[in-house]
């Protein structure tokens, strides 16, 4: 969870907490023993269902018990009505609120939705609204994004209609809210790749032009954010871009990026006396792309930039030395 403070425990409080914890641990252990025993002996009853829930409320990381719970449900399915399935959804939601980054809870929730007595399109659409809300709370929880893709997939399969355009717009909104939302940038990559593959862009060239403006804007807004640089690298190297644009257009765009990055790096140098490693790395990549295009570069600067990188980013010195070696 982002932005959550750690709590400071005083020695006194800690001692008190230990005593209380000990009690809880004892209680927990005996409960776990009972449930694992039920699992061993394959007792699939509503009682087992209740006990497994108790264990999971203590410890949602206990995947064995989640599995056991699903086995029980499969076995007593006949006795379960809509209320049970809705309660199960509420239960997983309550757990997710407490533990938004536990895989097993997300996993169980999807299973519940799929096996829900009324597993209609409606409940999946409702689920989409819920996950949107979750992402509003924490737009950088990759579990949320991953889960969202799973929901969208089911909805798309059932309606036979692609949601990609809406999804792309959503990533724009999330990135606008926070440029550092790596999950949203990542989702953008996934979507663009798929939309290109399935021929969903009305006008690829127009899309590319807008995207380049968007990246440029992002780079000027925050030149220290790695998500922007990673995305830029992916986009410039992405085959769709070099295929849709003709040689001249592509070269012009590379040159434009090069000069903008140089401006940013110069500005950083003037302000703080330091080079911006992201700029240097990207300059090297662009020069490589230019070479690959067969453009003759008269005075290649890559070596110089690598040398500067070694100085600006000494932690990765050996990596740069290796690159320098490659250059020869």
């Amino acid at each position: 969870m982002h932005g959550v403070k750690r709590r400071q425990w005083s020695r006194e409080l800690l001692k008190q907490k230990r005593i209380e914890d000990e009690k809880k641990i004892k209680q927990y252990r005996s409960l776990v023993d009972t449930v694992l025993n039920l699992k061993e002996t394959q007792i699939y009853t509503k009682d087992s269902l209740k006990l497994s829930k108790e264990v999971l409320q203590w410890n949602p990381e206990f995947n064995t018990v989640w599995n056991f719970r699903r086995d029980i449900i499969e076995n007593v399915k006949g006795q379960l009505d809509v209320t049970f399935w809705e309660d199960e959804l509420n239960f997983t939601m309550a757990e997710l609120k407490k533990f938004p980054k536990v895989y097993w809870i997300w996993n169980h929730r999807v299973w519940v939705l799929k096996n829900h007595i009324d597993s209609s399109l409606k409940i999946w659409q409702r689920e989409l609204i819920i996950v949107n809300k979750l992402l509003d709370m924490d737009a950088r929880n990759f579990h949320g994004w991953h889960y969202r893709r799973r929901i969208i997939k089911v909805i798309e399969d059932r309606t036979g209609k692609s949601n990609d355009h809406e999804e792309l717009e959503l990533t724009t909104q999330k990135i606008n809210k926070n440029i550092s939302n790596f999950s949203a940038w990542h989702q953008r990559v996934q979507l663009i790749t798929r939309m290109n593959d399935t021929d969903e862009f009305e006008n690829r060239k127009e899309f590319i032009t807008n995207e380049i403006d968007y990246i440029t804007n992002a780079m000027f807004t925050d030149a220290e954010d790695q998500s922007v640089w990673f995305y830029m690298e992916w986009f410039l190297e992405y085959e769709m871009v070099s295929k849709v644009l003709n040689h001249n257009e592509y070269t012009t765009i590379l040159n434009k990026f090069q000069s903008n990055i140089l401006i940013i790096n110069e500005d950083d140098k003037e302000f703080s006396g330091k080079e911006n490693p992201w700029c240097l790395k990207m300059l090297i990549i662009i020069e490589k792309l230019q070479t690959n295009l067969g453009i003759e570069i008269k005075d290649g600067k890559s070596k110089e930039w690598i040398a500067k990188l070694i100085e600006a980013d000494p932690l990765r010195k050996n990596r740069y030395l290796y690159l320098l070696h490659e250059e020869k």
Partner: protein, 604 residues
């Protein structure tokens, strides 16, 4: 005696947002409002406080919870003193008293009230006018104390996100968040970069002396232009709207501190930097602290004037002839003094205020769903050639301080002398003209002015708006229901950074003046020109330390029901709810956000 002319108090209103709370909230009664005044005063108290303004009330609550016995009096028949929220009729009386010399440190009060209030459309009690209006930064010492003391539970807060800078005859809305900078299509790329660079820097400027130290003695404007290459428009926004500085000469460290205050407050409770309290500002807050003090055991008495205090016998004598022994200290607001008070600190600084009630809802200036805005007139932006900033705080009907269709404009300046009134008049004229233009109906069809942004949102081009209306002569006029002008004096200079020494030196004189009725009395500070509450806690702590010896246990309140953690899986109070799907209430029911202080041990 219950005051007949006043607005409903918080206990009488019983805010509806708490109706569904798990434990029903009890707003404690306060003597003189909901309860009769005590027939007798105690014979012996630890501390006697005269005046129920912000600082005195916070101090009373802090002392009461620390265990001191407190007698808190006010010579008025209402709570609040220098922080009061008054009805129009109460304002009439207040103005008369100022002009009769009965309320020291206020002067030159002028009042116009339309006949529509009282005899016509509106009642005097429909309005709650703050005599020193304030806004609350969401990351501030007062806010944490409001939460810690639970006084926030008596109050209702609303957000304020619209800060405008008056430039080129129009109100520019601030571009201050990373998101706004990123999506703003008017800003040149390099400006975006420079602005972002500055915002990142200012968040922890103290750790980067290499950047600001060379400019430490220079003005913030020079620093922003030379070091960050920012343009005039951004520089003015940063200094005057975000930093709320008073003039262009503000020094670098002071200004950085003030700019950071805004930025770190942004997004604490949502996309806005400040809150204000419904039903009245400091009047409500001070009353809330008085209630808290009463729960903590303090005794309250209105209509009570301290006539004299003898530091040797420790005896305090009141106007009604009653007496009390004060074991520790007597604290007094400069407004509560009597004829023989000779130790009141000098109050050399003027604050000029112009408060207007207008018959316009002014929603054009507010963000959607909000009911307040700040407008700042930077130096040189007004016809009067102002050298100091004029700050305007606008409250709409949603604040419950005025009826629907009206709003209150609070304008103030730190300019001294006759110029001040000219500046305020010029600001009023500018606001008048501006609201007439912006609420004019033939605007929406003008394609040049209304554009659509990247995500389809409407962007009003204020620059064009300013230009196209340069020649605009309004057909209608703003209808004023009330205009109030006055000058207040204070010992606190318009400050950059809240510094205890600002208050320290004002508190007490060690001199013993023969014949003085106030030898040994500690004085509180009159409210300064500061539009936020930022001085209050510091000022109260200085006094607290003088009385208790240290400020270690200042509001070290331990409520009994705080630590009832039960064992069992259903107990999730140990964890901060990472995802909370309760709908955000516009009214900022901060009760449910109490866990800002209490955060789970587990980092998820």
């Amino acid at each position: 005696m219950l005051s007949p002319e006043r607005r409903p108090s918080m206990a009488e209103r019983r805010p509806s947002i708490f109706a569904h709370a798990l434990t029903p909230l009890v707003v404690p009664h306060l003597a003189g409002i909901e309860d009769p005044l005590p027939a007798t005063t105690p014979e012996k108290v630890d501390v006697l406080i005269a005046g129920s303004g912000m600082v005195e009330s916070v101090l009373a609550a802090a002392l009461a919870w620390q265990g001191s016995t407190v007698l808190h009096i006010d010579k008025n028949d209402y709570y609040g003193d220098t922080a009061a929220t008054l009805t129009v009729d109460q304002i009439k009386r207040w103005v008369n008293e100022i002009n009769d010399g009965k309320i020291p440190y206020y002067e030159n009060a002028k009042l116009y009230v339309s006949t529509e209030i009282g005899n016509g459309k509106y009642n005097s009690r429909d309005f709650g006018i703050d005599i020193s209006p304030k806004i609350l930064f969401t990351k501030s010492d007062l806010l944490s104390i409001l939460v810690k003391s639970r006084v926030h539970q008596y109050l209702e807060f609303q957000s304020l996100s619209n800060f405008h800078t008056y430039e080129n005859d129009s109100f520019e809305k601030l571009t201050n968040t990373k998101q706004e900078i990123f999506v703003d299509q008017k800003l040149p790329l390099m400006t975006k970069r420079n602005l972002m660079k500055f915002i990142k820097f200012v968040l922890n400027w103290e750790e980067q002396p290499e950047i600001w130290k060379p400019f430490a003695e220079k003005s913030i404007a020079e620093f922003l232009i030379e070091k960050f290459k920012l343009e005039r428009a951004q520089v003015f926004e940063l200094i005057f709207s975000i930093g709320l500085c008073y003039n262009i000469e503000t020094k670098v460290p002071e200004a950085l501190q003030r700019i950071r205050r805004y930025l770190t407050s942004f997004d604490v409770y949502g996309p806005f930097p400040v809150l204000y309290s419904k039903y009245g500002g400091p009047g409500e807050l001070s009353q809330g602290f008085c209630r808290s003090a009463a729960v903590g055991g303090a005794t309250y008495k209105l209509n009570e004037t301290l006539v004299s205090y003898n530091a040797t016998t420790k005896e305090a004598v009141f106007a009604d002839g009653s007496k009390v022994s004060v074991m520790e200290k007597v604290i007094m607001s400069p407004t509560q003094v009597n004829q023989n008070s000779k130790n009141v600190p000098e109050q050399p600084y003027q604050i000029h205020r112009l408060t207007c009630i207008v018959e316009k809802d002014c929603k054009e200036w507010f963000s959607e769903g909000e009911s307040a805005a700040m407008v700042v007139f930077p130096p040189g932006s007004l016809k009067s050639g102002n050298k100091q900033v004029v700050q305007a705080f606008i409250l709409g009907a949603g604040s419950e301080c005025c009826p629907s269709g009206t709003s209150i404009w609070y304008m103030s300046t730190t300019e001294q002398g006759v110029r001040a009134e000219m500046d305020l008049d010029a600001a009023l004229e500018a606001m008048e003209l501006s609201i007439l233009r912006e609420s004019s109906t033939d605007l929406e069809n003008d394609n040049d002015i209304v554009q659509f942004g990247m995500n389809g949102q409407t962007v009003v081009n204020s620059v064009r708006l300013g230009q196209s209306f340069k020649e605009y002569v309004p057909r209608e006029k703003v209808h004023f229901l009330c205009k109030l002008y006055y000058t207040q004096y204070t010992s606190t200079p318009p400050f950059g950074v809240v510094d205890p020494s600002l208050f320290e030196k004002n508190v007490v004189s060690d001199k013993f003046i023969p014949g003085a009725s106030d030898n040994g009395v500690l004085y509180t500070s009159m409210p300064s020109a500061e539009i936020s509450y930022d001085e209050v806690v510091t000022a109260a702590k200085v006094l607290y330390e003088k009385i208790v010896g240290s400020d270690d246990d200042f509001f070290d309140v331990d409520f009994e029901d705080d630590d009832d953690t039960q064992a069992g899986p259903a107990d999730n109070s140990n964890y901060e709810n990472a995802i909370d799907d309760e709908d955000e209430d516009d009214d900022m029911g901060m009760g449910k956000n109490e866990s800002t202080e209490f955060v789970g041990e587990m980092e998820i």
